[in-house]
Symmetry: C2
Subunit: 122 residues, 2 copies
């Protein structure tokens, strides 16, 4: 089914809590994930929360990657939203699962912008 | 069911195409949506594509809002990801649907970070 965008929602449970609170590591990891996917990075922003947790987003020419971490639960929510056929979305997902050391990763894929029109009802 | 995050995926079809290509309008609309929701804006970034289309993200203390538009299809993909109980996520969604003039909006809600542990198998 054709779609304009491909959106992976990563539920990364049982991660390494120390990693989830390390802004510099997470920023470098997200940028590396974008590069591994073959995406073109336009901008990134990351924020360290107190007492813990990091939020961040990488805007790419092909859409975006985002990250929110809860070190106290060993949990990270990552989204990888891409359009076009040139991006290797799985490569980005694999790298993030590996680097965040998630022992219980779940990936959900949502097709965005499926523009089939339903026939008019008679 | 308790969750750390609440994620609304908005499929906004049949929008006003002119609005979907107006970066200044979209940036102001997304910031207003964040404010209407009672969120605290940390950073925003918007990008105009050539020949058309806009991508943008607003990082809030309570997670993020993102937007990608395809004026040629009258379609916008909007995500509103929040945590905590203080944010009125629906208010942001309602404003975006109204301002983008979507005649066929669909909202999907995903709970992020549902951390129930399944019992060990005997």
């Amino acid at each position: 089914m054709d779609a304009l965008g491909r959106h992976l929602l990563l539920e990364l449970k049982e991660c390494n809590p120390a990693v989830l609170d390390d802004l510099a590591f997470l920023e470098e990891t997200m940028l590396t994930a974008a590069q591994k996917a073959g995406a073109t990075v336009l901008e990134q922003y990351f924020h360290q929360f107190s007492p813990q947790g990091v939020s961040g987003a990488v805007i790419i020419a092909e859409s975006h990657l985002s990250l929110h971490t809860w070190p106290e639960f060993g949990y990270a929510a990552v989204d990888i939203f891409t359009c076009g056929d040139s991006v290797d979305t799985e490569a980005a997902a694999d790298l993030l699962i590996e680097r965040l050391q998630s022992k219980d990763p779940v990936i959900m894929e949502v097709k965005r912008g499926v523009l089939i029109r339903t026939p008019s009802r008679v």
